[in-house]
């Protein structure tokens, strides 16, 4: 056991710019229940669905453009473009090079795709903190984005959604929010997976709860707060990975957080589970309304399994940059409801040959 468990770069780092993206289409959970005769309560109100011409590359490009607009830097100042997802468009060929080319960052960069179920986005953020914190680079772009797959009729189909966020990570003195420290808690826990060449993931039903989600989320959060010497009262907002509405609210209550702390970042009820984008789009929605001096706690979770917890302190700069791009709620308000047939077509569930 190492003495100090916190990950804290020697050069302080923070969020220079952030951007969200949610596609336009929504399918209500009741519409999925209608087709599959699902009984009982539905886990969310509705989920977002990507259009026929959207994938993780195109969605990442838009979130990245929003993040760079807020950062106010030239794209060429970025030295890394890292995209975390479990739905990269290609099996082999990086999403990150497409994104980097589109936003004009190439060629003097690191680029790569990350995968860790739902926590690939925060994993990319931690790596970006390392790159900037070690002074190897001044700015790095970390993205978490997904167009999640759910087997027709499976419990996951109600929530598997599309969306995510992008963050320009840079020196703390230029940031709109300082990342005080981060901590990750990881074990080999097989609660959810998708084998090669399979279209849809498998999950361990109730096994996804206690030994996976709750164990990792609570251990990551408690350890970070313990090492930092903070308590839930020190935070104005808290965001937990949101595969549905129930898990994050239960985790928040277990850890001692109150409704007003988690409410602004709880988006699963209206957009569903955006997987690699789920915790971090809660963060962008929270940054959209936070004040200078506010402290935000965010804990992501990825099946397989692990959780990344971050303690974030908002600076005065947030107010100068917030309105330079569309806000998370602007994308959520843009909404076109679709039925199951249209959803099946958009998600490629209708075989044409």
């Amino acid at each position: 056991m190492t003495e100090n468990l916190l990950l804290k770069p020697s050069r302080p780092v923070g969020i220079i710019g952030y951007g969200a993206y949610v596609p336009r289409y929504r399918i209500p959970a009741t519409e999925i229940a209608r087709v599959w005769k699902g009984g009982g309560a539905v886990p969310i109100k509705e989920k977002s669905v990507p259009g026929l011409d959207e994938d993780v590359a195109t969605m990442s490009i838009e979130a990245a453009r929003n993040a760079i607009a807020r950062a106010g830097i030239h794209a060429h100042q970025l030295r890394a473009v890292w995209v975390g997802s479990e739905s990269h468009p290609y099996a082999v060929k990086p999403t990150s090079t497409i994104v980097a080319e589109a936003i004009g960052v190439v060629p003097h960069i690191q680029a790569g795709d990350w995968e860790f179920a739902c926590k690939a986005g925060t994993e990319a953020m931690v790596a970006a903190m390392g790159l900037v914190g070690s002074e190897m680079a001044d700015y790095a772009l970390a993205i978490g984005m997904d167009t999640a797959q759910g087997k027709p009729g499976d419990a996951l189909e109600y929530t598997a959604a599309a969306g995510g966020a992008a963050f320009v990570i840079g020196p703390a003195e230029k940031s709109l929010a300082v990342i005080e420290a981060t901590y990750s808690y990881v074990t080999d826990t097989p609660d959810f997976w998708r084998r090669a060449y399979q279209k849809y993931p498998e999950h361990g039903s109730r096994f996804t709860g206690e030994p996976a989600y709750f164990e990792h989320v609570s251990k990551a959060t408690e350890t970070l707060m313990g090492e930092l010497g903070t308590t839930p009262d020190d935070y104005d907002y808290a965001i937990f990975h949101q595969p549905n509405a129930k898990f994050p609210t239960r985790a928040a209550k277990m850890l001692g957080f109150k409704q007003e702390q988690w409410e602004p970042g709880l988006l699963a009820p209206v957009i569903g589970n955006t997987y690699s984008g789920a915790a971090i789009i809660g963060l962008t929605a929270t940054l959209d309304i936070a004040k200078p001096g506010d402290r935000i706690l965010m804990t992501s979770f990825g099946s397989g399994a692990g959780a990344d917890c971050m303690s974030i302190l908002v600076t005065d700069e947030l107010l100068n940059r917030r309105d330079k791009a569309l806000k998370t709620q602007d994308y959520i308000a843009r909404r076109k409801e679709i039925d199951y047939a249209t959803y099946a077509r958009m998600r490629g569930k209708i075989t044409m040959k």
Partner: protein, 135 residues
Amino acid sequence: MEIPRHWRLKKQRYGLIGEVCPHCDSKIFPPRDICPDCGKEAKDEFAFSGAGEVYSYTTIYNAPSGFEHTIPYTVALVQLEEGPLITAQLTDVDEEHVSIGMPVEMVTRKLREDGDERGMLVYGYKFRPKLVVAA
């Protein structure tokens, strides 16, 4: 397979990168290295803002090869804020809501697969109705 062509056009397609004439300041898209207005050499790169408006439009029900999967879709002549008139697909819009003069903005989307499901993915600009800030 048209990989070299897709690769050659990626800059203008992904990010609406054109040219500006150093002699008469005319903005040029697609890039052609010769200014269509003054006829002089124009090779300076220029990134268009992506803002524009619908000049005219039509809806495609019988699509050319490679675009069958997304029918029906609307194709528009978009007058860019900086001047050029370009042809592009509209996206995230229902046909009945398209009108001449409608403000639009550029987004980078998947255009098609090159060939079949084994081919490369081709990305490029489309335009959507300008997104408004929620009240």
